[in-house]
Symmetry: C2
Subunit: 335 residues, 2 copies
């Protein structure tokens, strides 16, 4: 019997097909098509609506870089908020830091957690049972807007800015995140593949630049996110958390018992902020625009450009490119 091949279909002019040696689960409704299968090269793969979201062979890249970069940047992070991230990968990495007293994961969809536990339990590992883990099934947008708590790090492990996840890429949401950060706290989110889709990186950078003193996108290469390196974004009001030297990063990781990593190292931490020139120019322009009052977030639907605080400055800042008609390179949608 010939194995079935399952295709990524979101790029109009090129496709990646993965061989399914075994389909573990499939759910095809009028709203979504989710399929979980085994692949000889990639391990267990989650494909959602024709986009490869996650493989067990390389999930460590994204999950480590989303977690250890903000956490080791901080001297002693105690309270961490994860918005989304129901597969448990970020939670697993966050809990490696013994300084963390409470990690709150707010996932809107309980089935994302159940799916992980059933089909790729190595991703959450034992993190859902950790006494420091606070699992909340709720709308992350609403949670952040209403919470009275303060967090040292907020990690937004969201899917791409279309459909239900679009709200997690808006200025309003990021402004609420800022309010929920402790003094000197760090906000991290994902920004897709800037080689193919620079507008996503540009949009978040504009918003971050308008809200925070410091914005510092960083990158990692997740092999199953085909199409170039993957951008993450980092915002803070405390510039000291950027460019922490390698020795200090190593000391913090060691002191907190962080070990067994496959991607993050102190050298990789600082290196990840060195963007290829093509991405750096997107970021430079977006920061200038954001500081000048153009804080238009990336969106597929038409977005309203807010009136700038300073019209003179705003006139200098370029308007954002029109929302792309094609699918976003942002991945990490969740089942």
């Amino acid at each position: 019997m010939t194995n079935r091949w399952i295709e990524e279909t979101f790029h109009p002019h090129w496709r990646v097909a993965l061989e399914a040696s075994k389909v573990l689960h499939e759910d095809k409704t009028e709203h979504q098509h989710l399929v979980i299968f085994r692949n000889e090269t990639w391990g267990t793969v989650l494909m959602l609506d024709g986009v490869c979201q996650l493989t067990t062979s390389d999930e460590f890249v994204y999950h480590e870089m989303m977690s250890h970069v903000p956490l080791t940047a901080l001297e002693s992070p105690e309270r961490v908020l994860i918005v989304g991230g129901g597969d448990g990968g970020v939670l697993r990495e966050v809990l490696k830091h013994s300084s963390v007293k409470k990690a709150t994961m707010v996932e809107i969809d309980r089935t994302v957690i159940d799916t992980a536990v059933k089909y790729y339990p190595e991703i959450p590992g034992k993190s859902f049972d950790d006494p420091r883990a606070d699992i909340v099934i709720a709308d992350g947008l609403k949670y952040v807007a209403e919470t009275d708590e303060e967090f040292d790090a907020i990690i937004v492990d969201s899917s791409e800015p279309i459909g239900p996840s679009a709200v997690l890429h808006t200025r309003e949401f990021f402004a609420d995140c800022k309010r929920a950060l402790s003094k000197g706290g760090v906000l991290v989110t994902q920004n897709g593949l800037p080689f193919l889709f620079p507008d996503h990186l540009a949009g978040t950078t504009r918003v971050f630049a308008s809200l925070f003193k410091r914005v510092a996108p960083y990158m990692c290469t997740q092999p199953c996110y085909f199409g170039g390196p993957f951008a993450l974004n980092f915002a803070t009001n405390d510039k000291s958390v950027l460019h922490v030297d390698e020795k200090t990063l190593a000391k913090r990781a060691k002191k907190r018992g962080v070990s067994g990593l496959k991607y993050w190292t102190p050298a990789v931490h600082n290196a990840s902020f060195a963007l290829p020139a093509y991405a750096q120019s997107v970021v430079d322009e977006a920061i200038a625009a954001g500081k000048a009052g153009n804080d238009t977030a990336y969106a597929h639907a038409p977005v309203e450009v807010k009136p700038a605080d300073d019209k003179k400055k705003a006139a200098k800042a370029k308007a954002p490119a029109a929302a792309q008609p094609k699918a976003s390179g942002s991945k990490k949608a969740k089942a």
Copy 2:
């Protein structure tokens, strides 16, 4: 009419298919299948024997990193040897350095050059007509073994270690390169995709470690080399050329008139040597093995392990993994 889709077929369990809006050239013989076509996303694409070798949208990544890393590492590189590289991309970047008095490109196959000029002339640009360019149609292996010249940098822009290019990945060839380097010179080569094929990086690193005082693999992410970041390798006997500070790198590039780059920056230069932990562990092990006398190069065909100089040390060093039966992640094969 529906467009034709052209597939990468060298990964057994996954495939990338690119839509050809127009096929520019196709050559299908019993020895090879070469096809050059236009793709809406990637520009002009060269696919050779089911492996995407080059696209005009992202060739700058590899060509810049192969050229500017060794050249700006040096105080004043004057003579550069490019082995292979008939598409002219490396030559184009090398010639951006005004310090370079002569750049010798030794390409075994004249049709590689002709193909570039005809189908993607933006890659060589005007470099083939530069008076400093010395284009030699010859076997690179033989050329390096016989040359009396000395080069400040040797850049091996070879295809993967199978077939005719396999000789450009052997200890013998690299030893000849070492002999042809000036004092303090730098040797650079490509090492494929270590996330999928760590043995290639390991093999070259063992050989470099056995031949040179310093080995320093570095990485870049070339979007069309699907499957993770791409490894390059760097060897020298002069440790001062590693970790040159950003200011010095910037000053050198500026002084030499290097501009218009889309990937390399001084920060990216140094950052590229920070390897993800999974690749660093491959490198650490390979360096230890190489220093201990295990200098087995990567090869698809079975390779003979040379007797170690120091049996005690060699016993500690792990034997290399068996040559992989599957295709190598090394790309950059040439038409």
